[in-house]
């Protein structure tokens, strides 16, 4: 199982001291949090994306790239990447680049964003949020899995013979999670592609999280990616820990009471009862988060928010250390021991490459080759005639595998039973019929 922290890098005044960080200080602190996360044995650091004050996360790949250079093992992720307002071509390029430079230590959580004006700032319409997420991701998926893409959609200028560069590391795109609090369409989208589903439940009661995860799991099986318990699930979390639980409550309360979002609302006691926020001793945090498995089943990734509400940087670093040295080792041992062998561990580049190689071998195909297959020279786009042959063959193979998977799945049987439907409607790569 993978454990880590996520940050939206908000600049919030410390309600106790009144101190407020500069943008520069906050950015440096984010980097320091990430490097400490690796040092204390955490697996993942995920960074949000916002395009307005009080956040300093407008350019996540710059920050994550810098962190990649200062770390060697840490997985870099997002929380979230705006699939609605970013150009999918730019996402394909930026994150493939980061994937190469970090030696495969990158994945993404797709989100629609929760700042309404971001849509108009980037020329989009918030009422199209779901449609943007669906169309943009479908294009991103194709840009990463097909060498040459012809594209025409509703929201973006068309593409002819376009190749997103660099091609993903080892021919395997970064793993993608789809994050949503309450939109069943996004759980469905994650299930359709066999991608991960991340529920950032920090402000939500477990009963709601369970509904969303159950839907995702059921649809994951429906589309033939495996059994429901093999679906890839990630959860958010929030804690504040001190040796003595009364100390934790006393120290955290002013930050809770004045927090953006929920401050001046529910009591700390109500909120810790209703949501995953746990304030107390490391043992109390362990006990609470061992219980998440009872809610959503065996899951693959648990991220924690530790740096919001104006908490002092030193305190944040202490929380990361407590998490890495006292909480996660127990959670990891217990949860890994409970997870059955047929349920996958958290996704890594190495595991995805191994799975792809196994699939090629099972089909009697030759191993993947990274040999450069594109034309060289100015103004070139697409593949050479020789490279093109091989690329077309790979697309056909992948499409055949997708068709076979669907035909064997409940989704395919459903389609076979309904007259007049074309079975190719269900294949993720159905649009690539050139």
């Amino acid at each position: 199982m993978q454990f880590g922290i996520f940050s939206i890098a908000d600049i919030t005044p410390d309600p106790v001291t009144g101190k407020i960080a500069t943008e520069h200080e906050r950015l440096r602190r984010v980097v320091e949090m990430a490097t400490l996360a690796e040092q204390v044995g955490l697996d993942v650091f995920a960074l949000g994306e916002h395009h307005n004050p009080p956040f300093v996360t407008s350019s996540p790949t710059t920050t994550l790239g810098f962190i990649a250079g200062k770390t060697s093992r840490l997985l870099l992720s997002t929380a979230t990447t705006l699939i609605t307002t970013n150009d999918p071509v730019k996402i394909a390029e930026d994150y493939a680049m980061l994937q190469h430079l970090s030696e495969g230590r990158v994945d993404l959580v797709m989100g629609r964003g929760n700042t309404g004006p971001v849509y108009p700032w980037f020329g989009q319409d918030i009422r199209q949020g779901i449609n943007l997420a669906v169309e943009n991701y479908h294009l991103l998926h194709r840009l990463w899995t097909e060498d040459v893409v012809d594209w025409e959609g509703e929201f973006r200028t068309p593409l002819q013979q376009f190749t997103a560069t660099p091609r993903p590391l080892d021919g395997v795109p970064p793993f993608v999670w789809h994050g949503s609090i309450r939109s069943p369409q996004i759980a469905e989208q994650a299930a359709f592609y066999g991608d991960g589903f991340f529920h950032n439940n920090i402000f939500w009661p477990p009963r709601h999280t369970k509904q969303m995860v159950d839907l995702y799991r059921q649809r994951f099986e429906h589309y033939g990616h495996g059994t429901a318990d093999q679906a890839i699930v990630g959860l958010g979390g929030q804690f504040f820990a001190r040796d003595n639980s009364q100390d934790a409550v006393r120290e955290f309360r002013p930050y809770f009471d004045n927090a953006p979002v929920y401050g001046h609302g529910p009591s700390l006691e109500d909120f810790t009862r209703e949501t995953p926020l746990t304030v107390g001793s490391p043992d109390q945090v362990i006990e609470r988060y061992l219980g998440m498995r009872d809610v959503v089943g065996d899951y693959q990734r648990q991220l924690f928010l530790v740096d919001h509400a104006g908490l002092p940087h030193q305190t944040v670093l202490e929380q990361i250390e407590i998490l890495g040295t006292r909480i996660v080792p127990v959670l990891r041992r217990e949860l890994d021991a409970l997870r059955p062998a047929h349920v996958p561990d958290g996704p890594t580049h190495a595991a995805l490459v191994a799975a792809r190689d196994a699939a090629l071998a099972a089909d009697g195909e030759k191993p993947h080759s990274d040999a450069y297959r594109f034309g060289t020279g100015d103004n070139w786009t697409g593949l050479t005639a020789e490279g093109g042959e091989e690329a077309r063959r790979q697309v056909m193979l992948r499409e055949r595998r997708a068709q076979q998977r669907l035909a064997d799945a409940p989704a395919g049987q459903e389609l076979a039973g309904s007259a007049g439907s074309s079975s190719s409607d269900d294949a993720p790569s159905a649009a690539s019929d050139e």
Partner: protein, 231 residues
């Protein structure tokens, strides 16, 4: 079909702030009258009253946290499966009580769509009686409720003499009339987007409406439809 066996669910939203509350008194009268009509027509009724002031803190918390706590959620769930609703609020400063609106704001959008709703309000004098029509009615029109055309306003003096100088139809009579319309709407819902009209071949007495579910995923669309290129 064993539909007649299903007790109908009538939910009363009462947003009075004092104890005892004339708003609650009016709410109880309307609920009892509606129950009488439905039971006289052979339909058992479950009545649940949501006394909004009992959820005051939960409503404010939910406004800030964007989720309802367990207690408030169970009240909302009851509302989401109601066959009919009676909404009663005091009139403050020309409008419904702020707490009443705050409660409506934390209920999931769609909870009232197509649901028969009887509107009622209380106030000091009958001078305020139009508040129902310029505040409550537009609100529930926006929520796409099936609003009972006759609403009931009770001024303080309505709880005294059977008729008042302003209104020669006594409160009892207005209550019974409105309750009768609500009961009829519950048994024969107006076709809406949520519950389309029965086909013309259906016989003259349509069956009871289907029990509503608490399904949170009513907006679920399978991916194969989401991905289909628009024409």
């Amino acid at each position: 079909m064993s539909e007649a066996a299903r007790p109908l669910s009538l939910v009363v939203i009462s947003a009075g702030l004092s104890v005892p509350s004339s708003t609650r008194m009016l709410a109880d009268r309307l609920a009892a009258a509606t129950r009488d009509v439905l039971e006289a027509r052979g339909h058992p009724v479950d009545v649940a009253v949501i006394e909004v002031k009992d959820y005051a803190h939960d409503v404010v918390d939910a406004t800030l946290t964007h989720f309802a706590g367990e207690r408030l959620q169970s009240a909302i769930d009851r509302l989401k499966t109601a066959d009919g609703v009676i909404a009663v609020t005091p009139t403050f400063n020309l409008s419904y009580a702020g707490l009443f609106k705050s409660f409506i704001d934390v209920v999931d959008p769609g909870a009232f769509t197509g649901v028969p709703v009887l509107l009622a309000a209380t106030g000091g004098t009958a001078r305020h009686s139009l508040a129902i029509d310029y505040t409550l009615r537009p609100l529930f029109t926006y929520l796409k409720a099936d609003i009972v055309p006759l609403s009931v306003f009770a001024a303080a003096e309505d709880f005294g003499s059977p008729t008042t100088s302003h209104d020669t139809t006594p409160l009892n009579t207005r209550t019974t009339q409105a309750a009768t319309i609500l009961a009829t709407r519950i048994l024969h819902p107006t076709p809406t987007l949520a519950t389309p009209a029965p086909s013309p071949t259906t016989d003259a007495t349509p069956p009871l409406p289907q029990a509503r579910t608490q399904d949170d995923f009513t907006d679920f669309i399978p991916m194969t439809d989401l991905l289909r290129p628009s024409p």
